[in-house]
């Protein structure tokens, strides 16, 4: 307890500093003026002024996912809070630790339809891990510390703390973060040892094991990623990762098959279909991964490590659920496999690898490289990867075809370098997320691999990027279409491209210049390398507008309602195998 009572706004700042927060992404307004006044009077916290509150949450997500820390957002009441809702939902779906402070009208006006009033805790209840409305200044410090504890422990997620203006002015006592946990919320970290032994026995006797890692490994931390890598190598099994898991296992390792799922690699999906043991780690059997559920990996036993009990047996029945933290459970599993050391069945494993290599031989990511007049989007990402890989870049993406091509063609060796909106699929995520990543890593190369439609959804953040001189690079694959929408219209709706073409796109070069950034455009493959080099060599922000083949589609693909072994490998398959009626209604 501090001796002198201080005002609620000062308590907020003190609690943030005591939680080790160094940056807050926000936008002021009437209800949070006291906090902005307290911010003004101190030097420990940096504030990044965004241009729309949605951008603040995505920036905090980018910051959180690239640093492993909690991202912090500060917005005002009413529209400030409602604008944050998409970002909060995004953070919930992708398990990103975010604490979002929202202003609120004074307590005596709550419920009166006051100016800029919204029922923030009501609106955000289903899109946060937890939320609070603080009505007593003496509860404020405790709740703030608890909010950080809840956001980062267990399966991480967004937490909203709604702060009525009178509470921010009121004097109260401050308590430090020492007791900053929750009375009862204690996620289980260690799995049941009997279950671990059961899992180890299954692994030791499997003939065709497959590792299926997800974002939970990344959330658990670099240590968990290292243990995951150790286990995959120890078991000598192929390993696939979800979109959210990329970076949890080094892409250059020969055990790595590439991404799994709807636009995952052929070898990954076939291995998932045909394996006899699936070891799911921090992944959640999402519909983008499983395809048609009743045909999902029919012959396999399944082990599932997850910290969230509701992820176990949600979509797919598993044989050995291991409730606990990935890193902790993986360590236990490694210990169980080493003592006594159990070696895989050599002959069986050899024939499994032969099968995997045969699938790899299909070269499912091949595309038409014969055109010298047209930049293929896949080629653009291949070149971007080749020319930036030695700079250890951080990549964010928007949502759509470019996102899937980035996931397929960019290789990640380490966690925390890949930030994408997986669960919610939020167009407009990439640019503000890149901004947050750059704030967390001022000297790093940060690239938003974007589509021209997505980036326009939060293009106003170019102004934030300019204000803080953030050298973010936006690499736009510009095909003038909402490419994924167009691809689905081709697949499901007879090629009737209803509203998926963007007429009147801006001139991205001039747009960049208007925001004080460097703008470039390329249209020919021969110009691409020089443009990428110029982009990464430029000291400031750059928008590189890459005109790509307008009609290119993203393959391979498991069409909706299909199984892993019914992948479309290219446009010819697409014509030969129309989508089923059940598949039509799926998203």
């Amino acid at each position: 307890m501090s001796a002198e009572p201080i005002c609620g706004a000062d308590i907020v700042i003190k609690a943030l500093v005591d939680q080790g927060v160094d940056v807050v992404f926000g936008y002021p307004g009437g209800a949070v003026l006291p906090i902005y006044d307290s911010l003004f009077k101190q030097n420990s916290l940096r504030h990044i002024l965004v241009r729309q509150e949605g951008g603040a949450v995505h920036a905090a997500e980018g910051y959180a996912r690239s640093t492993g820390r909690v991202g912090v957002v500060l917005v005002t009441s009413g529209p400030g809070a409602t604008n944050a809702v998409t970002g909060l939902t995004d953070a919930l779906m992708d398990s990103v630790p975010v604490v979002c402070l929202t202003g609120q009208v004074p307590t005596h006006l709550i419920g009166n339809d006051a100016f800029q009033e919204a029922d923030t805790t009501g609106i955000t209840r289903p899109c946060t891990k937890h939320n609070y409305l603080v009505k007593d200044v003496n509860e404020l410090a405790r709740i703030l510390h608890e909010a950080f504890y809840v956001a980062k422990s267990g399966r991480p997620g967004p937490v909203v703390v709604d702060l009525p203006k009178d509470v921010l002015f009121a004097l109260g006592s401050y308590a430090g973060p020492e007791q900053g946990t929750h009375k009862t919320y204690r996620p289980q970290l260690e799995a049941d040892p009997a279950r671990v032994a059961e899992a180890a026995a299954l692994i030791a006797t499997a003939k065709r094991p497959l590792f299926y890692g997800g974002g939970g490994i990344v959330n658990s931390g670099p240590e968990a990623c290292a243990r995951f890598t150790e286990l995959v190598r120890l078991v000598d099994a192929p390993c696939t990762l979800t979109l959210m898991g990329l970076g949890a296992f080094p892409a250059s390792d020969p055990h790595f098959l590439g991404m799994v799922g709807m636009h995952g690699l052929y070898e990954s999906n076939m291995a998932m279909h045909d394996c006899d043991l699936m070891i799911a780690v921090g992944s959640r059997f999402d519909d983008r991964v499983t395809g048609r559920l009743n045909a999902f990996s029919p012959g396999s036993k399944k082990i599932h490590i997850d910290i969230d009990p509701s992820s176990l047996n949600k979509n797919v029945r598993v044989d050995v659920p291991l409730l606990g933290d990935c890193g902790t459970v993986l360590a236990a599993l490694i210990a169980a496999l080493k003592e006594p050391l159990r070696r895989p069945d050599g002959a069986a494993r050899q024939s499994w690898w032969r099968q995997v290599d045969a699938w790899r031989g299909r070269d499912c990511l091949r595309y038409d490289r014969s055109r010298s007049d047209l930049i293929k989007p896949q080629y653009a990402i291949e070149r971007l990867y080749a020319l930036t890989r030695d700079r250890d870049p951080f990549i964010t993406t928007e949502v759509g075809q470019h996102q899937m091509w980035a996931a397929q063609f960019f290789k990640f060796e380490r966690p925390y370098h890949w930030m994408t909106s997986g669960g919610l699929g939020t167009m407009g995520y990439g640019l503000p997320a890149a901004m947050g990543v750059q704030v967390g890593h001022p000297d790093a190369l940060v690239i938003d691999i974007a589509g021209e439609a997505s980036i326009l959804m939060n293009i106003q953040e170019m102004s934030t990027i300019a204000q803080y001189r953030l050298p973010v690079k936006a690499f736009i694959l510009n095909n003038q279409y909402m490419g994924m929408v167009r691809q689905w219209q081709e697949l499901l709706h007879g090629g009737r491209y209803s509203e998926s073409y963007t007429a009147a796109l801006p001139d991205f070069v001039k747009l960049a210049e208007a925001f004080g950034a460097k703008g470039m455009r390329v249209e020919r493959p021969a110009e691409l390398d020089d443009a990428i080099r110029a982009m990464i060599d430029a000291p400031g922000a750059v928008v590189l507008d890459v005109a790509v083949d307008e009609m290119e589609n993203c393959f391979p693909m498991i069409p909706s309602g299909a199984a892993h072994n019914e992948m479309l490998l290219g446009p010819r398959d697409e014509a030969a195998r129309p989508v089923s009626e059940e598949g039509m209604v799926l998203v």
């Binding site: 209840r125 289903p126 009990p309 509701s310 047996n313 949600k314």
Partner: protein, 167 residues
């Protein structure tokens, strides 16, 4: 595979604003059924409320409901009474019947058989208070229909495990 089961689940929660909305929102947002739901404070010192929810679904859905409930931050404990052994389940109803003459006599006789208590009466109406299983309440209410059933108010089920153990 898709056999529907009916389960009574007891949930011990922090008695804080919004907790009921959180639980109800979970059920509606994820498309689970609520057959009945009751809530009241049960521990003033520790500020705890107990929610009794009767729900139905396949085994996998029931397991999901319990997992989803238990990961809500203010939820302390989730007990599936149906799974965990014998338990007592009761519901209370207030039942208003309006009528005169023979029907009025008949409903009093039936109330006696069902051990319903008269808690209000006028010359042309009764309000019965009745406690029991949902089936017993349903049976009585059905019998009252031709005798002038006017209004029903029910609490929904509350339940507790039999024996000395407690949570």
């Amino acid at each position: 595979m898709s056999d529907t089961e009916r389960h009574t689940i007891a949930v011990l929660v922090d008695n804080e604003p919004g907790i009921l909305a959180r639980v109800v929102g979970l059920f509606s947002g994820r498309g689970y059924n609520i057959e009945s739901l009751t809530v009241a404070e049960v521990d003033r010192i520790n500020n705890l409320s107990r929610i009794t929810v009767v729900t139905s679904g396949t085994r996998m859905i029931i397991e999901q409901i319990k997992a989803q409930l238990s990961r809500l931050v203010p939820v302390h404990k989730v007990h599936d009474l149906t799974d965990e052994g014998p338990y007592v389940e009761r519901e209370m109803a207030l039942i208003k019947v309006v009528g005169k003459g023979e029907a009025r006599d008949e409903c009093l006789r039936l109330a006696d058989v069902f051990r319903a208590r008269v808690v209000d009466s006028t010359t042309e109406s009764f309000v019965f208070e009745m406690t029991g299983s949902a089936e017993k309440l349903n049976a009585f209410i059905t019998l009252m229909e031709p005798l002038g059933l006017a209004e029903v108010s029910r609490t929904g089920a509350v339940a507790i495990a039999r024996g000395a153990g407690s949570f």
